[in-house]
Amino acid sequence: MAKRIGHKVYVDTIVKFSDEGKMRPLSIEWEDGRKYEITRVKNCVPGASRRAGGAGMLYTCVVDGKEIHLYYEDCPSGPKWFLESKA
């Protein structure tokens, strides 16, 4: 279940690991329980979100035809995925 801290929303994410060890997020679950399929990963670069407050790998993904920024944060308490909330 997603968890919100300020503008940072940690989301449950289904990920596929390739046999070469590459990660690709397949879908995310938003705060309201709805699941969204990631139809395309356009880019994956190191990135920080000042708004949400975190740094890690920034996946630019396409969901429902819209571009979203999904972050993979390898924090010491365990790796997590988060999104910036606009609200």
């Binding site: 300020g6 670069v45 920080a48 000042r50 407050g53 010491p76």
Partner: protein, 436 residues
């Protein structure tokens, strides 16, 4: 690009310094802290500890690194204290170094938040071939990828590059060239030069040496007479003649152990001699462990006798420690169990390894009082504070008076040394001590 007046053989050295590093990482993760005065420090609940880093808002109120938390509260009433998260700082430090290492393999860390980079050869291979443009690129990347800012100094030697990174903060790049260093550096107070500490500065002032320019102009022999060997070094640093290379990645590998060893002024001939030196070394090892926020549970000793036969022994203990009394106790027990005094001893080392961050939880021992352990730790901290303020000799263990020549030795760090700061500052202090 060679600047006018630059020597074609000059190196291009960058010094990158993460601004208010601990505070910046905390502010990134907690946006609410960005617009208020805040500081990262010891345990505010327990009402002890010191300010490790403060953000710029707090600094403007007069909060300084090293202040007790209550003092910081006095100068800045509404300051918010945050407990340190070293594992996060290490993660960010690694990320920053990862970026640096994309530009050169000559990356020398100076603590968690600072690094020197030698980009002389790599600059030629990169599309951007001068120091300033690479510095700008690095600065932009750190901001974009880590969400924090850096100040970078660009120069032809490490000392001036470091000066450059301190010159303008935050989020700035300063180039020190052969054309501008006399205007920028020489007019600055001598204390702005790396390795001119408070004590050295006081002494320099006595001789009328107020600025770095004065230091550069001073007779190196006079400086040698005042400070010993470091006098020549300071003189060369002030003139921009520092040729110290930037160490390659791997030369400063991750800290695996902290140890000190020493060859004693005279051979050690009995248990008392050895105990004294073990205490001396253990105090220094414990202090460095604490400085770097580690505890370790493998205690090791190395012994070399006057026949040059040497051996090492190590022992895993129940509780990881950074307490000098415990380290000395374990080291002493190891020595007693392994040495039969066939020959006098020439050299001894004490080492703590299998390190973990000091905040790592551990299972307490039912038969070992945590209260007593804490007392020993507090005693260590108090001694460290007294020594910081009044010099090393201000407080000594009784055993050190058994032989002041032996206990007055300069316990040099061995090759497990973490970074050159402690070693250099130590050297500086020791020279200062001899002066008095």
């Amino acid at each position: 690009m060679i600047e006018s007046g630059d020597n074609v053989n000059d190196r291009i050295i960058l010094h990158s310094d993460c601004n208010c590093f601990y505070a910046a990482v905390e502010m990134l993760h907690n946006p609410e802290l960005r617009d208020i005065p805040m500081a990262v420090g010891g345990d505010p609940e327990a009402r002890h500890g010191i300010v490790l880093t403060a953000n710029y808002i707090a600094k403007r109120h007069g909060v300084k690194v090293g202040m007790a938390l209550w003092q910081a509260r006095q100068v800045c009433r509404n300051i918010v204290f945050v407990q340190p998260h070293y594992d996060e700082y290490i993660r960010f430090s690694r990320k920053a170094r990862g970026i640096y290492s994309e530009y050169t393999d000559l990356v020398e860390p100076y603590g968690l938040d600072e690094s020197w980079l030698d980009i002389t050869d790599t600059a030629k291979m990169l599309k951007t071939a001068d120091g300033m443009s690479i510095a700008t690129e690095i600065s932009d990347r750190i901001k974009r990828e880590l969400g924090i800012t850096v100040s970078i100094g660009v120069s032809w030697n490490k000392i001036f590059a470091k000066f450059g990174s301190d010159y303008k903060k935050p989020d700035a790049i300063t180039q020190i060239t052969r054309d501008n260093y006399k205007d920028i550096i020489w007019r600055s107070p001598a204390s702005d030069l790396l390795f001119v500490g408070r004590r050295t500065d006081v002494k320099l002032k006595k001789y009328g040496i107020l600025t770095i320019g004065d230091l550069a102009a001073a007779d190196p022999e006079l400086l040698h007479d005042i400070f010993g060997k470091i006098g020549y070094v300071l003189s060369a640093f002030a003139r921009g003649e520092d040729k110290t290379p930037v160490a390659a990645i791997g030369d400063y590998s991750e800290i695996k152990s902290v140890g000190n060893s020493t060859t004693t002024p005279r051979d050690l001939v009995n248990d008392n001699d050895v105990r004294m030196v073990i205490y001396l070394l253990s105090e220094s090892v414990a202090a460095r462990l604490r400085e770097n926020h580690f505890i370790g549970d493998v205690i090791g000793i190395s012994i070399r006798d006057n026949g040059l036969y040497s051996f090492t022994r190590q022992h895993r203990v129940k509780l990881p420690t950074n307490i000098s009394e415990e380290i000395a106790g374990y080291a002493w027990a190891l020595f007693k169990a392994n040495y039969t005094w066939e020959h006098p001893i020439r050299s001894i080392g004490v080492r703590v390894s299998n390190l973990v961050p000091e905040t790592t939880p551990h299972q307490t021992d039912l038969f070992l009082s945590e209260q007593i352990r804490e007392k020993y730790l507090r005693a260590d901290l108090a001694v460290a504070d007294i020594r910081r303020r009044f010099g090393y000799d201000a407080v000594l263990r009784g055993i050190m008076y058994y032989d002041r020549i032996l206990s007055g030795l300069d316990a040099k760090a061995d090759d497990h040394m973490i970074h050159p700061v402690g070693y250099f500052q130590n050297g500086n202090n020791v020279l200062g001590e001899k002066e008095r």
